[in-house]
């Protein structure tokens, strides 16, 4: 089939992706220092950076949720069962035989069913869990009327442990994610696409029609 350079990742999407990536890496680095896994910046600095980065990420998340809804991009994450098995089979077998990807990347369908499922899980379970436990961590005690009040919470333990579970899962995701971006058409094609926005894809009639609609 004919190939064509397609503008697949929009400017905001790339901005969101990379700033989120930087912030998450900062949060992992400082978070595990707070956890006691290593000492590098010092506990106090680690806490300050972790708090600032988390607030920045929160602002970014709010903007991005808004972006997802006004652009309709949220539909990308609706998981389907179509091709799901084929996709798993591809990663387990097909990829070694140089077989083609079972799912074609399209402007309207950037994610394969396995990606949709994983990203949906990240967005509706893992990230909210980490964000909510993080907010409780920060704000379960708060100044009010010149003194410190507290939510009725029996200490930080459960909140902190859930936050830690989330952190481990995010690191695991990051490791696998970094590897899987090398499984594109070429080793670097996915990475290039997320930087420039453009990727060589098989020509898709519908995309051509949609392009003007999506390009704002």
């Amino acid at each position: 089939m004919e190939k064509k350079l397609v503008y697949i990742y929009l400017a905001y999407e790339r901005f969101w992706h990379w700033s989120q990536a930087i912030l998450i890496i900062i949060l992992i680095f400082t978070g595990f220092e707070i956890h006691g896994s290593w000492q590098f910046l010092g506990f106090e600095t680690a806490v300050k950076i972790h708090n600032s980065a988390s607030t920045a990420l929160l602002i970014l998340i709010v903007f991005t949720i808004f972006w997802h809804f006004i652009t309709g991009e949220w539909k990308q994450y609706i998981p389907g069962t179509k091709n799901l098995l084929a996709q798993i089979k591809y990663y387990l077998i097909g990829i070694f035989k140089n077989q083609p990807h079972p799912t074609k990347k399209k402007m309207r369908k950037k994610l394969n069913p396995l990606q949709s499922l994983v990203y949906l899980g990240l967005k509706v379970i893992l990230f909210p869990m980490v964000v909510i436990t993080g907010l409780l961590y920060l704000f379960y005690r708060f100044p009010s009327d010149g003194e410190i009040r507290s939510l009725k919470m029996d200490g930080l333990e459960n909140v902190a442990l859930l936050h830690t579970v989330g952190a481990f899962l995010i690191v695991a995701f990051l490791i696998v994610h970094l590897y899987l971006i090398t499984t594109g058409e070429t080793i670097t094609s996915n990475l290039k696409a997320m930087i420039t926005g453009y990727e060589e894809l098989e020509k898709d009639e519908q995309d051509d029609n949609d392009e003007c609609q999506n390009n704002y």
């Binding site: 400017a11 901005f15 700033s19 707070i34 956890h35 006691g36 010092g42 506990f43 106090e44 806490v47 300050k48 708090n51 600032s52 980065a53 988390s54 607030t55 920045a56 602002i59 970014l60 990663y91 990829i95 070694f96 035989k97 140089n98 005690r141 708060f142 100044p143 010149g146 003194e147 410190i148 507290s150 029996d154 200490g155 930080l156 333990e157 902190a160 442990l161 830690t164 579970v165 952190a167 481990f168 899962l169 690191v171 695991a172 490791i175 696998v176 590897y179 090398t182 499984t183």
Partner: protein, 524 residues
């Protein structure tokens, strides 16, 4: 390019905004200056006592001085007589015991044990005259010692072993004319010397505070706040504010830092939030006994050994006694890190006659509180550990008879005979005695509240937020940086190893199959 620059700009501003959100706004330095000016009191003596005729007389008896004071300050004697400085006892509610009368008079500690039977020596620090035994008249105003607190000549001292009467060398006429608001030296004349010597008992109150650097005590130092004791320990009708929980039990009439510093004194939110569970003293007194040593342990069981029939003593390199025939062996410490405990303002006490378990460490007093107690905060304490005598037959602590003027009366410090001292001591406090004694380990908790360091020297986060930090002993709550769940940590690490292993295997298989496919293609 323009987009990248724009994105970076947005990112930087978001970062800055979030930083500001946590750092908060800095306090105006002039606020502190204004507060100082507002709270500074006029320390000039408002009247010239030297001009009063009533004070211009040859006093035969110190009680006449008190009588002279009362001619103008009428009613003040009755005020003082109601205070614990005079009564050495007051009504307290103690959990599990109800309302009881408690104070220095009847509570025993693990330093010189107790005052009962030893009044001649102990009453050197009584704000009265002549409390030798139970016959002392608590209702006679003339028995109140005004001078010990109000003397400003610096010449008034109480005599040794004189049951609170002044040393015979004191010129009462001169002293009576130079009186005023209590200074550090007045309070210190007793409170610095608890336990029988400078800084022995408290550890955070000692003569060095009369002239110290900001590093030793930022409030009392002349370079710092230049404050005296009564600036914080104010009074109403001679009832001085402040508590010592070796002999107090209730959360009342305490002196707090927030009276001046407010409940939210820090620029940083995170630090302010700590005040919900951490007392100010915990972070702001990194070490105590900063200048002179304080006694950390005392072994009474070695007391009584004589050298050539004479009492002897040994000293360490700093001049602290490590052994005294009359008291036993001691350990001392300087620049000590406090220990930490929860404290809600109420305490329990060992009372004469309480049963002990000799296999356990006897708690002379217990500071109440835990993480779940909304009134409790973590506070710094000095723990004094001592081996003290107990009745092995009845399992109660013994209050030995220590002091007498003459040999042969059974006092330990005269006769060096434990058996007699125990028997006589228990008789004096009206307790039965089985005739057999032993020694048991005990702990006494003393709150560390003084020797506040300049703010630059306050504890940094990592002093507690680490595995073996200062709060390693308080395990009833989750402390970030110290605590973790071993199952979660193990599973988490395993997950990461499996992920890395998985991609390593998958990646090498891809590389292998790719080269295989290439070779096959090449063959074709």
């Amino acid at each position: 390019m323009r987009r990248i620059v724009l994105s970076l700009l947005i990112l930087v501003s978001i970062g800055y905004l979030s930083y500001r959100l946590f750092v908060g706004i800095h306090h105006d330095e002039s606020l502190l200056v204004a507060m100082k000016r507002e709270n500074q009191r006029d320390l000039e003596i408002p009247v010239e006592h030297a001009l009063f005729e009533v004070l211009d007389q040859e006093f035969k008896d110190v009680r006449e001085v008190t009588a002279a004071c009362l001619t103008c300050h009428n009613g003040r004697g009755n005020e003082v007589m109601k205070t614990s400085h005079f009564q050495w006892i007051r009504e307290e509610f103690v959990e599990g015991r109800g309302v009881i009368k408690l104070g220095k008079k009847n509570v025993i500690n693990n330093f010189c044990i107790g005052v009962a039977g030893n009044e001649h020596s102990s009453m050197k620090c009584h704000a009265g005259f002549g409390w030798e035994d139970h016959k002392f008249d608590f209702a006679d105003e003339r028995n109140v010692d005004c001078l010990i607190c109000h003397d400003q000549s610096g010449e008034y001292v109480k005599g040794n072993k004189m049951a609170g009467l002044p040393s015979p060398v004191v010129n009462l006429q001169k002293v009576a004319k130079e009186v005023g608001r209590p200074s550090k030296a007045n309070c210190g004349s007793c409170h610095f010397f608890g336990g029988g010597g400078n800084n022995v008992k408290q550890g955070d109150m000692e003569v060095a505070l009369l002239d110290c650097s900001r590093e030793v005590d930022v409030h009392m130092s002349a370079e710092g706040g230049n404050m005296s004791c009564v600036d914080c320990h104010g009074d109403a009708n001679h009832q001085i504010k402040g508590k010592l929980y070796t002999i107090s039990s209730m959360d009342r009439n305490r002196v707090t830092c927030i009276e001046c510093h407010t409940a939210l004194p820090h620029d940083e939110r995170t630090l302010n939030k700590h005040t919900a569970k951490i007392s100010c003293q915990t972070c702001h007194i990194p070490t105590y006994a900063k200048v002179n040593s304080t006694k950390t342990s005392w072994d009474w069981s070695t007391a009584g050994k004589l050298k050539d029939g004479q009492p002897c003593h040994e000293k360490d390199s700093l001049g602290n006694h490590t052994y005294l025939s009359i008291k036993g062996s001691f350990e001392w410490g300087r620049n000590l890190q406090p220990e930490y405990t929860w404290f809600n303002g109420t305490a329990g006490h060992y009372l004469v006659g309480d049963q002990i378990n000799p296999d356990q460490v006897v708690q002379m007093n217990s500071l109440n509180g835990n993480y779940r107690d909304l009134n409790a905060k973590i506070v710094p304490v000095k723990v004094h550990r001592a081996k003290i005598p107990y009745d092995t037959g009845r399992n109660v602590l013994i209050q030995p008879y220590l002091f007498s003027h003459n040999k042969g009366e059974g006092a330990l410090w005269q006769d060096f005979n434990w058996e007699k001292a125990c028997e006589k001591g228990m008789e004096k406090v009206g307790q039965a005695y089985s005739g057999h004694f032993g020694f048991v380990k005990s702990e006494l908790y003393e709150n560390i509240n003084h020797m506040i360091a300049p703010k630059e020297q306050a504890l940094s986060c990592v002093e507690c937020h680490q595995k073996n930090g200062r709060l390693a002993g308080l395990t009833d709550f989750y402390l970030p940086g110290r605590d973790s769940n071993s199952i979660i940590d193990f599973t988490g690490k395993l997950l990461l190893i499996l992920s890395l292993g998985g991609i390593a295997i998958h990646g090498s298989l891809r590389a292998f199959s790719a080269s295989n496919l290439k070779r096959k293609k090449g063959r074709k």
